[in-house]
Amino acid sequence: MDKEKAVIEFLMTCPKIQGTPLYFNFANAANNTKQLITMANEKALHRPYIDGSVHKRYTLTLIDFKSVAYQPIVSAAISSNENLEDFLQVQDIIDWVDGQNELRNYPNFGQDCYIENMTVLSDSPDLNGVDTKSNPALAKYSISIQIDYLDESKVIWK
């Protein structure tokens, strides 16, 4: 089973990702564009068990580009600050992933792989930087999603 395709199909059910441009590895960055970046998953972290199954980890990063507003936070208008609203939209993605984990609703890695846990590696989005050369300027938020699963494809006991 292609895990990248499974994860893409799964993430596209997220309300904050649906309907927005979603790129894989390469992105034409613009406001609200999202980019999935694959990460090499170290084989050294694999944990084999005596029955032939192996505990593995799949990790990827989701980048969310948001246009920057040159807008100070004024206490009376805090709820309408664009930068804060954009940040909270990315936060919603984190909360959605956590919620799906609670419901044990996971991507489909195939019948030989059993997903045990899916978690975002931080409680809040990481601001990687702001590209002021683009127009409008773009803030780049990232969240990393880690999926722990049991690969039973090499188990000989059926």
């Binding site: 068990y49 005596i50 029955d51 032939g52 049991l150 006991w157």
Partner: protein, 178 residues
């Protein structure tokens, strides 16, 4: 006569090819009983069958040392052994442990040790059956997930034979001694 390994020259037998399977019965409807079988060792990284030999040594006046094994008390520890969905053994032993039902452990299990590195699907895989073993949970708890470490005490009441397949519905065929 020694068994023939189904391994290439210098190939090591993978740990997954040494399989321990527990078999036990629980009451069914009426006077029937339900047979259960379950492979042991899911999510266990390391476990060995310890023979615990009782070795008696003596040295004669010529300086020759003799070592005799008086007996063995084979035992295998599975730690961690998590309570897992779909595991009949988890269900059976956790009930027994929480109710302190010692009779549920003692001599209630047949345990098969299957050497999948000897034999094949056509002729069967070498297996020995220990009848009347005890599988004993030693604790319950842990950190993130509920673990119930187990000790398997083999009976040494052994029947040698083969199994026809590597799944819970195997048929064990005892060797015939003529």
């Amino acid at each position: 006569m020694a068994s023939t390994l189904n391994l290439a020259l210098h190939e090591r037998a993978q740990r997954k090819s040494l399989i321990t399977v527990a078999e036990w019965e629980t009451p069914g409807e009426g006077n029937t009983s339900v047979q259960h079988r379950e492979i042991l060792g899911r999510r266990v990284e390391d476990s060995s069958i310890e023979l615990n030999p009782d070795i008696q040594t003596s040295t004669d006046i010529l300086g020759i040392t003799y070592s005799d094994v008086a007996k063995t008390e084979p035992q295998q520890t599975l730690d961690p052994a998590y309570i897992m969905g779909g595991s009949d053994l988890s269900s059976y032993l956790s009930d027994a442990m929480l109710e302190n039902n010692i009779a549920a452990y003692n001599g209630r299990f047949n345990v098969y040790i299957i050497s999948a590195f000897i034999g094949d699907a056509t002729n069967g895989y070498k297996a020995v059956k220990h009848s009347g073993c005890s599988i004993i949970p030693t604790s319950i708890g842990g950190d993130a997930y509920v673990a119930m470490p187990l000790e398997i005490h083999f009976s040494n009441d052994i029947t040698k034979g083969t199994v026809d397949k590597l799944s819970d519905d195997f048929v064990f065929t005892a060797d015939v001694t003529i």
